[in-house]
């Protein structure tokens, strides 16, 4: 029997027992659903992005994040942790969060469980990608719309 008490840090156990930010966001700005090729586990991460003026610049800030995970204890803990870590971050900052950083924030993961944190990183990237895609198709639509109006005039 693997000794989970020594395998997992107190923080991992805490995030596993009491995961933060479980669920869905109403009208999410981006959704990332990924599956691990290693173990078949599935993670879905949703983010809310809002544009805010900071020091005269418009920044895209992640104001909320929620998750659902079908996976092992480490997968649940890393999903919970990453949703905590992204909140309040700018998009480009959030893109820099690595699975190693998530594992470190949890006071470490056993080597065989690092792929679980990779799943969390992938889910976040997928959610941000989804947001950026939606954004660009919206601005394109907008551009098309203005184009349309100009030709009509």
């Amino acid at each position: 029997m693997v000794d989970y008490w020594s395998l997992y840090s107190k923080k991992v156990i805490d995030h596993f027992q009491y995961p933060r930010n479980v669920g869905e966001i109403k009208n999410p700005s981006g959704v990332g659903r990924v599956g691990s090729p290693v173990c078949g586990d599935i993670m879905e991460l949703q983010i809310k992005v809002e544009k805010k003026r900071i020091k005269g610049k418009t920044e895209k800030i992640i104001t909320d994040a929620k998750f659902r995970t079908f996976g092992c204890g480490a997968a649940i803990a890393t999903s919970s942790m990453i949703t905590e870590m992204v909140k309040g971050k700018k998009i480009n900052e959030a893109l820099k969060i690595s699975n190693k950083a998530v594992a470190e924030a949890l006071d470490g993961l056993p080597a065989i469980k690092m792929h679980c944190s990779a799943l969390a990183e992938d889910a976040l990237k997928a959610a941000i990608d989804d947001y950026l895609r939606r954004e660009s198709s919206r601005t394109k639509k907008n551009a098309n719309y203005h184009e349309q109006r100009r030709t009509n005039e």
Partner: protein, 397 residues
């Protein structure tokens, strides 16, 4: 660190605790009676006599003769000796082995090895309960077949194979051919839990292991019917009828003997008790937790083994949550749970990957009580509910 209040062990198919009487029987052989059974002086003779007695006890549990029992280091070694030993000794007669797709890795991986070394292996499928169709064995036998190796009871879901029927089919086939097809069974999970008799099952070789039947680890045995052509894997002294060189693990052998003696005496009673307890656990789970399914055969199953899929609950997460409550269960077989691949056994039953990942094995044993089972039934529903609440698959919450 939060203190663990309970210590409920429901993983007896992985290993069992040492029976206190077994420990007591072993102790002198770790202290005063240290002699080498091959020695001619009284130190050696004393130990040899005890070893012979132990062999007799193992034989009598499975209806064999004492000289048909070879002591090994484990169930794995017994399986290796059976398969490789038969192949080696019968090379001139054929090279075909028939086995099942749900064997323990200690058989499957030996077969894999042998198939890379000149053997052809047929892996028989199982139905959705994990049962082999004995007619498939008949159809698979060819002129080149030398061995059929089918496990008695499956470690992961407990399904018991129709060995008698398979034994009869092999016997029939043998009556019409010059070279015998040998019949081996890995009975590591079934000995002590249900009746195992080598003559009723018509097997020629049978593997068993000490630590699965309340004996010590590091000891196993292989039953080899008289007249079976088999080679040794080890070259060395003339121990174990020339089939297993190396000074015998005397404390282990004594322990195994004692465990078998206890099993002969108490099996029927224990079997009833286990059946009642596991039925209690199953009914409790069924009543209180929706969307579960029992894997394996509903009836033809080991009395203490319950393999249950909890829809949309990942097994390892559930295992961890239970472990934090002091309850020990397992996912897949313990030897493979380091790898995240789903169980080959559950996939062979036709479960999807996702379903296979949601399964959990409870395996009950001697020291479990009604109170322990009640406690599990009491706390499991809320844990399952909590993990379902997090899950990314299954019904919308």
């Amino acid at each position: 660190m939060r203190p663990i209040l309970k210590r409920i062990y429901l993983d007896h198919n992985a290993t069992t605790p040492l029976h206190p009487l077994v420990l007591k029987a072993m102790l002198p052989y770790l202290e005063r009676d240290f002699g080498n059974p091959s020695s001619l002086h009284r130190f050696g003779r004393k130990v040899r006599a005890s070893m012979d007695e132990a062999r007799e006890k193992v034989a009598s549990l499975i209806g064999a003769k004492s000289e048909e029992i070879i002591f090994t280091s484990s169930g794995t070694e017994s399986n290796n000796l059976a398969l490789k030993g038969i192949v080696e000794a019968n090379r001139k007669r054929g090279n075909h082995i028939i086995t099942s797709s749900i064997e323990h890795p200690a058989v499957l991986n030996v077969c894999k090895y042998l198939s890379q070394h000149g053997c052809r292996v047929t892996y028989l499928p199982v139905d959705r309960y994990g049962l082999i169709n004995s007619e498939d064995v008949r159809k698979a036998i060819t002129k080149k077949t030398i061995l059929v190796s089918i496990m008695h009871a499956n470690n992961e879901m407990g399904t018991i194979q129709p060995l008698r029927e398979i034994g009869r089919i092999i016997k029939e086939a043998n009556s019409k051919r010059p070279n015998r097809v040998y019949f081996h069974t890995d009975a590591v999970q079934s000995v002590e839990k249900i009746k195992v008799n080598v003559n009723k099952l018509k097997v020629d070789l049978l593997s068993l292991s000490g630590h699965k039947l309340y004996g010590p680890k590091g000891i196993g045995a292989l039953y080899i019917r008289k007249g079976v052509r088999i080679s040794s894997l080890l070259q060395g002294g003339e121990h174990e009828y020339n089939l297993r060189a190396g000074t015998e693990n005397i404390p282990g052998i004594i322990g195994l003997g004692k465990a078998c003696k206890i099993a002969s005496r108490e099996r029927i009673k224990e079997e009833k008790k286990l059946l009642k307890l596991s039925e209690r656990l199953y009914q409790g789970i069924r009543e209180k937790i929706p969307d579960i399914r029992l894997n394996g055969h509903p009836k033809k199953r080991l009395p203490g083994t319950l393999n249950i899929s909890f829809e949309s609950v990942e097994g390892e997460a559930l295992l961890l949550a239970l472990d934090l409550e002091g309850i020990a269960v397992s996912i897949g077989s313990a030897c493979t749970s380091g790898s995240p691949e789903p169980s080959h056994v559950l996939l062979a039953l036709g479960l999807s990957y996702e379903e296979a990942y949601t399964s959990l094995r409870f395996s009950l044993g001697r020291e479990n009580t009604k109170e322990e089972i009640n406690y599990v039934i009491q706390i499991l529903p809320s844990i399952v509910k909590r993990i379902r609440g997090i899950s990314a698959i299954g019904r919308k919450k």
